[in-house]
Amino acid sequence: MSFFQKKGIVPVSSPDDTPSGAPEKIGMPDFVVLPLSYGGEMLPVVSPGGYLKAGQPFARAVNGFTGISPFSGSIGDIRGIRHPFLGSVPAAALLISPGSETSREEIPPDFNPGAFTPEQIISSAMVRGITDETDMEHLGVKLSRAREQGAVLLLADAAEDEPFSGAALSVLTANTREVLTGLELAAAACGATKTAIALFMRAGSPPPDPDITGIELVYFGPQYPCAPEKKRFLEKNRAVAVGVQALAALARAVALNEGQTEAVVSVGGNLPEKPSNLRASFGTPLKALIAHCKIHYPSYSVVAGGSLRGKLCSPETPLSPGITALLPVEDKPAQRSTRCIDCSSCCEVCPSGLLPIHIMKTFRSGNLGLLVHLNPGLCTGCGCCSYVCPSRLELTQSVRRAAQAVSDRRDNEGGLEK
């Protein structure tokens, strides 16, 4: 039926398993683990045994991007950790001093976003360590580039298309003023003359209505992934999209000189007693967030970053920018895959128009010459092919590996030519 349908899938999930409502602040942990490098190479400005105050920098990148400490406390040891999104990075353990938690201030009512120059806003985004949660890019870098490219429209991206995720909509609804202020500041920084808010319509649910007037709402979906649709919209309107959490952080950075030290995370799925949106500081172990949602299950694993694109990680993994969804899954043996039945479902749903099963088979046969023509590099890793596969084949993994193999081959050929 793909001829009449948009490519992609409509994931079937229960609305009860998707968190909604305002984010709850979780209790202060005893310690946090601060990755000393994210969204690019950074140099630590702390040493073991040192004392760090809340709001002070703990690491700095060459481009001026600064990691800000969420709490006051003493630095324990610095050692390498394996993070699902950051890779192998050094991280500092911060033993939090009791009572170092600060209350959340509101932006003053008389705050005027128009009083700041684009350079001031971009500089503030860099110095206050703001990362766009949608693509892990430093916000200052993104806004500078958008300014150079002559962006016309700035889109506040609350279009979360993964099942069991509701963090963006929660931030937009609970912190509307911060998001709108951030949107105004970001638009001024990149020279955009228009602003809009992107939302995602889930199948079987009414379209989200965040009660915001005077600003255009752009709806994507209900097909997952909405990224191709969004990309077309951005290209057509010469627009740039920034995540709502980054926009709220930008508003607080400019108005209150506050760094981005926390994130709103959805803990969804059918394992938590009450799926919730939680506000937690960076560095908090993911198990603290899961524990807050009460899981009465003997053993489970944690998927960070969404059920379709996320990664399986240890519950000890520290919360970092880019993690906006957590999904506890049963700790059962992995599902067994069977042989391909040539149903062609994977090819029908692929939003990039790839032939996942042919890529998998060609990759396994080692025919790299043919693999190059199948263009696995176009894969966005959305996971639609694996989602629909009745034989439970690990198609997404295979296509990503094939893309890596093709890329390596091209690099080798390039090296030989030089």
Partner: protein, 346 residues
């Protein structure tokens, strides 16, 4: 939530692996009812013998080679389809012989551990029978002339098939209603156009068959016959007879949509269907039996992978060209705007 080794960790709940085969069997039940109405229980006995042959091969294969899986649903389906492609009055052992060849072929690949080649195994069995037993395969019985006997060989009223009528160019005694209800001489289950189309609709709605392949085959076959008619005069009617008579419709609906036969990409399915329609109509003029669809499906199924790759490469090139054109257009537009802005500033 069950655990998977890698993303996505949340997948479709239903498992349609065996469902599609069962649905295809359900679709066949309509054809069986009509066949029994025309020819009697003989067709059921032939089908039973085919299924038993299929089962015997599966058991033998599993006993001799410790191969897992005794009797598979898709093997049974293939046996039933091959039986329906044989004439009702043929020797009762004809269809099981074809099934034996098909099963030897399937079991060989299963035992060897190699991936099953993407070809139509039913077509392999049919071509074997057509080549070795042409006198049995292409002599048809008049449907509705009384139920056939249950002995090994049956003596029905012989009748000319649609292909023979078209070759002779004599359609004076032809009734269009017979074409729709299958009251025509031909392969047992392949002549009732209305029932076969109903089966196609059922399978497409249940998503157990791709709709692109049969639609492309039927439309391209029809257009080809309109452009190059075999019988001059009464054009739309002869083109309709060409696609609904004989085994073409049955093959386009059942053989060409068998999993593992058709290309997997959407464009590939269209190309595959169009080629089936055009080549079947072309080739049937040169074959003495006038039955070309299984041969064409066998050849094209062997080329299905190449069709997929070819279509993907062509579409990819077009996509790249279109993207380059649109991005260069945007760049020119942006440069013009900047130029205009700088001039205004000056």
């Amino acid at each position: 939530m069950k655990k998977y080794r890698s993303a996505p960790f949340f997948r479709i709940a239903s498992d349609p692996t065996s469902g599609s085969v069962v649905e295809r069997m359900v679709a066949l039940s309509g054809i069986y009812i009509l066949s029994v109405y025309y020819y009697g229980p003989r067709i059921l006995i032939a089908s039973l013998l085919s299924v038993l042959t299929c089962a015997a091969f599966s058991v033998l294969c599993s006993l001799l080679f410790k191969n897992s899986g005794l009797l598979r649903a898709d093997d049974i389906l293939c046996s039933l389809l091959l039986t329906l492609l044989c004439p009702a009055g043929a020797n009762l052992l004809l269809a099981p012989t074809g099934v034996s060849i098909m099963m030897i072929f399937r079991c060989f690949w299963r035992i060897s551990g190699l991936p099953l080649p993407k070809i139509s195994h039913i077509a392999v069995g049919w071509i074997f029978l057509a080549f070795c037993f042409p006198s049995q395969m292409f002599i048809y019985t008049e449907p509705g002339s009384g139920w056939l006997g249950l002995g090994l060989s049956a003596t029905g009223v012989p009748s000319e098939s649609v292909a023979e009528l078209l070759s002779a160019g004599d359609l004076s005694h032809f009734e269009p209603v017979n074409l729709l209800l299958g009251h025509l001489a031909g392969p047992t289950g392949a002549t009732a156009a209305v029932v076969i189309i109903a089966c196609m609709v059922f399978m497409v709605v249940r998503r157990s068959a791709p709709w692109q392949v049969p639609v492309a085959a039927l439309v391209s076959g029809y257009v080809f016959c309109l452009i190059f008619p075999r019988v001059s005069g009464a054009l739309p009617m002869t083109a309709l007879i060409e696609i609904c008579g004989g085994s073409f419709l049955f093959c386009a609906v059942f053989l060409a949509t068998e999993p593992g036969v058709f290309p997997l990409s959407c464009a590939g399915k269209w190309v595959f269907g169009i080629l089936i329609g055009v080549l079947s109509m072309l080739l049937r003029r040169f074959l003495p039996s006038g039955q070309a669809a299984p041969v064409v499906i066998l050849l094209l199924s062997a080329a299905a992978f190449m069709i997929d790759i070819g279509c993907f490469i062509v579409i990819d090139k077009i996509r790249v060209l279109a993207h380059r054109r649109s991005s260069s257009g945007r760049r020119v537009e942006r440069d013009a705007e900047r130029h205009e802005a700088s001039e205004n500033g000056d």
